[in-house]
Amino acid sequence: MSGAEPITPELFEEAADWFIRVRTAEAGADVHAAWLAWVEKDSAHRAAFSAVQEAWDVSGTVQTFAWLTPEEPVEPKAASSPGRFSHVARLPARVALAAGIAIVGLVAALTIPDAASRWLGNSTEVHKRIATGRGEPQSAVLPDGSRLELGGLTGVEVVFTSRRRLILADEGETFYKVHHDPNRPFIVEAGPVRVTAIGTAFSVRREGNEVSVEVVEGVVDLNTDPDVQSVTELHDAAGRTPRVRAKAGQRVKFDGARFLQAADPGAAARMAWRRGQLRFEEEPLDVVIASLNRYSTRRIVLGDPALKKLRFTGTVYDDSVEDWLQAVQIVFPVELGYSDPERIVIEPRH
C-alpha cells in the first residue's frame, strides 16, 4: 500500500501484538506510552501498524454468519427436511407484490445447530434464507466462503450439510462465486433445473420454469429435477437424467422442457445485470417483465396473454425501467395503461 518496503512477517507480528494490546479498553497509560515510543521510533513501525489496521478492517467485512453468539440457545435443526422452496420461500416476494410496495432488505431465518462447533470444524450445517427487496440487489458470503450476489426481488434458501451445499433458488437472478470444495458439491436447484458446480462462478436466472444459466468461470453440470415429468423424454439411453455441461463463457437456457445452448452473449453482455443492466436476447415479453418487476417500483403486467409471444432483445438499465416502457411502445404494437396507480398495464394497441 505505502509501497516503501515490504513489511517482514516478524515486524508485522510485532505490530499486530501492539495492536491487540493498545486497542483493548483495559490498556493503561503505560501501555499507550510504550506503544507511542515504539510507533514513533521507526517509520517502518508505523507502516506495519497501518497494515495491521488494514488487515483488521478487511477481516471485519468478511461475513460471519451466526457463529457470533455461540452461547445463545439454538433451535434444533430438522436435518432431514430441507423442504421444497415452492411455498415457504416464495412467500416474501408474494407478500411484497400483494402489498405493492418495495420490500426493504432481507428475510433471514438462521438455524445453526451449534455455531461454535461448526467453526471448530465439527459441523458444517447451515439453513438460512436470503432475500432481497425490489430494486435492492445485495451480496452475501456463505459460511464456506462462497459468495452470492442477488438481483432485485430475488430469494434463495441456503441448505448446507456436511455432504453437500444446496441452494434452493426462488425466482430471480443470483450470481454464484463458489468456493472450491471437491467433497461438498455445490448445487443450485432452480425450479426444474439442477446446476452442479465445483469451484466456479456462474449466474442463474429463473422466471417460473424458465431458467437461464451463464458460466463465467469453470464448468457446471445441468440436469433436470427427476420429479419434473415433462422432461423425462430427455433421459439418455442408459436412463440417466439428462445432463448438459456448460463451460466458461457459455449460456444455457431451459425453456421449461428442453435445454438450449444460447449464443454466447459476449464478454460485455455477460453478467451485465451485475452492473445494473438487464440483458435480454429473444426473451418472451412476460419473462422480460418478470425481470423488470424486480426493479420497477410500479408493477408491470401484461394486459393480454397473447403479448407473451412477443420476443424482446436488448438491454434495460435497472434504474430506467420507465424509459424502456416508453421504448417498448415504439418497438411493439402495445400501449401502456396507467389507470391503476400501483400497476402499469401493457396492452395491445388498437
Partner: protein
Amino acid sequence: MPGRPDVIDPPAAPEAGGTASAAPTLARLFQEHNASLLQLLRARLRSNDEARDVAQEAYVRLLQLDRVDTIGYLRAYLFRTALNLASNRLRHTAMREATYRDPVFDVGADDLSPDRIALAQEELSAVAAVLQDLPPKTRYAFLLHRFTDLKLEEVAKRVGVSDRMVRSYIVQALRRCHEALDVARDAASSRGDPP
C-alpha cells in the same frame, strides 16, 4: 477507500483565554504525535472520520486547559482524553450498531465504485478463504476476538488456551489476512486493474 488517517487540520488556537504559552506547546505536541494519536484512535474506533473527530475534540479540550504543564504531562493528558472520548463514543454507538448491523449482507460495500467492488470482492474472498483455512482453534479465537466484545481472557477461556496463546492466534490470523491481501493486490495490479 478510506483516506489515510494521518492528516487533520490543527484546531485554531483560542483568540484569548487559556495561557499565552499553551498554543505553541500544544501545536508542537500536535505536530509530533498527531499521526500516532490518529492511528491509536483508529485502532479503537471504526473509521478514520471518527478518529479525526475524536482527535479534534481532544485537542480542543486541551486548549481549554487553564495551565500548561510539561509537554510530557500534556502528551499523557492528550492521549488519555482522546481515549476516554473514544470509549464514550463506542458506548454510545454500541447499542445502535447492535440493532442496525445487518447479519447477512455486506453493508458499506455499496458506496464503492464498480471497479473497487470487483477488487474488493477478490480481496474479500481471499481473506475469507484464508480465515476459513486457519486451524480451527486459531480461527475460532480470531473470530471471537474480532467480532465480539469479549475480553482476551474470556476468549482464552472459551478456546481453552492461555491468554498468550490467544494473542498469538490473533496475530497469526491477522498476518495471514495481510498476506492474502498482498497476494490479491499483486494479482490485480499485474492484470492492470486500477489500484
